[in-house]
């Protein structure tokens, strides 16, 4: 068992952060349902947002554990997803050393660590699926691939139970795209970074 797999078994604190409207609360909800209802683990999720109707900082925190969860908020984060630079800067101060850090490579130009996995969620959703709004689902696909804190199967079931009817195929594609982005990036040497081909389209 790899160190990362072992890390995924105890209390795992995940934080999904970005801007209001990027779908992070939905992503948190799907992550929590995947872990809690389909993988059979204990989960607690809290959300935080500002008074704005859209925009503004938004984050969801999901605690996944094999034991009953007392404190429902993150104290030392194991898994951090940031979809904006603002979120990456605001919510990176309590990461565990060795935490998984996953950022949108186009929207986060300065990730909190050089070890961060930089993937073009929004650009890929826009260019490959023609639906930038599924960037959150692409990110979930990458999270399952990279971390193993949730099973791919559980994630897919939870996602399909949540999304509006008629969007199942799109969402499945988005999950697969996220997993592929993660696999492709893992194939490259981490030090090279993941400068993407999509940036020139912006």
């Amino acid at each position: 068992m790899s160190e990362k797999q072992a890390q995924a078994l105890g209390r795992v604190e995940t934080r999904l952060a970005g801007s209001g409207g990027q779908g992070l609360l939905l992503a948190g909800l799907v992550l929590a349902e995947a872990a809690g209802l389909y993988d059979g683990r204990e989960v607690a999720m809290v959300q935080s947002y500002g008074p704005e109707a859209r925009g503004g900082a938004s984050k969801a925190e999901v605690i996944i554990s094999d034991q009953a969860i007392d404190y429902p908020l993150c104290t030392r984060v194991d898994l951090f997803l940031a979809l904006t630079q603002e979120a990456a800067d605001a919510y990176c101060w309590d990461l565990k050393p060795n935490a998984w850090i996953i950022v949108d490579s186009d929207l986060v130009s300065h990730p909190p660590s050089s070890k961060a996995v930089r993937l073009p969620f929004t650009a890929a959703a826009r260019d490959k699926l023609k639906k930038p709004m599924v960037a959150n689902v692409v990110a979930l696909g990458a999270i399952a691939e990279i971390t193993g804190v949730i099973s791919r199967r559980g994630l897919e079931k939870a996602l399909l139970a949540r999304v509006p009817a008629g969007t199942e195929a799109l969402n499945k594609k988005a999950l697969a795209l996220g997993a592929k982005l993660a696999r492709d990036a893992a194939g490259q040497a981490p030090s090279e970074g993941q400068a993407t081909a999509h940036t020139e389209d912006m």
Partner: protein, 378 residues
Amino acid sequence: MAKPRAQLLQGNEAIALGALAAGCNFFAGYPITPASEITERMSREMPARGYPFIQMEDEIASIGCCIGGSLAGKKVMTATSGPGFSLMQENLGYACIAEVPLVVVNVMRGGPSTGLPTNVAQGDVQQARWGTHGDHPAIVLCPATVAQCYELTITAFNWAERFRTPVVLLSDEVVAHMREKVVLPEPHEIEVIDRRQPTVPPDWYVPYKTDGSLIPQLANLGEGYRYHVTGLVHDERGFPTRRADEVEPFYNRLFGKISRHFADLERVKAYQLDDAEMVIIAYGCTARAAAAAVRIGRERGLKVGMLQLMSIWPFPRRPVEEALTGKRLALVPELNMGQISREVKRVNDGRTQVLRHGKMDGSMITPDEILGRLREAK
């Protein structure tokens, strides 16, 4: 038969579902962060069952509407947050003196006034007790988990109906918006209590004349029994009185119908208190941090336990006294400047050092803060 299904439920949704399980068949409210999800859920669930859901023009009208619904025999609830709860205070007193069963959910956010709409706080603890003017009894329940949101909403309805009094469910932003995996009980596992009805014919009916229970058997308006409802102190027939020999028994009965059941109204949960030298007394979301502090503290060899208050008014004096007995130190963490620590100090016999840990920055108290405070005090 299908296996009971676990679901991921938000605290606010659990309150709505708990209300339905308790038999709520009338809801009037006005949405407000962080309580809106209760109103939202009820706006879908109530019409689907053929029950009235009314979005009123404000919170004064919402609670007024509920009082009317309750007098007509409905099991009623409204849900709000600080600013709305302030507006409801006058009618809360009316429901108390007119003995109208009513459940009011107040999801606490930062105050006073508009305060911090999306942030957590526990600043309404004393308001829930003393917000309406005049001395009066109050029953206030305080959940810390999604499962407790469901369970205590049912309790709130049962107690409102049993004692014919308003009951406040005091939640907070973290508990309200937190989602947890829960398996809700089957309907047959849930105890539901409905208000008693008069057994005498309408001609013999004396509305506020009570038997040994001290609780009047008020008829549902519209069913042929006539009586007068007023916010003035009233006699057994429901009409205003200033006669000392009627006023004093009235107040005695109003308090007595609840105070004689104090022991039944104490809801607490003890965590690892048996061998503890220090006790954390906490409620609402803060109890979650306290439970984590107990777990981490125990791992580090601290003999610390926790008493969670699920009912805060009437103040659960006896279990708190028991929890304080023999402890060196008690710490009361809360998201205000000491509203419950003051009560703990009041019931403390002086042998235990009681410290408060107040926080008012819009965020939750962390387990580390609690442990740090215990370490300082050691």
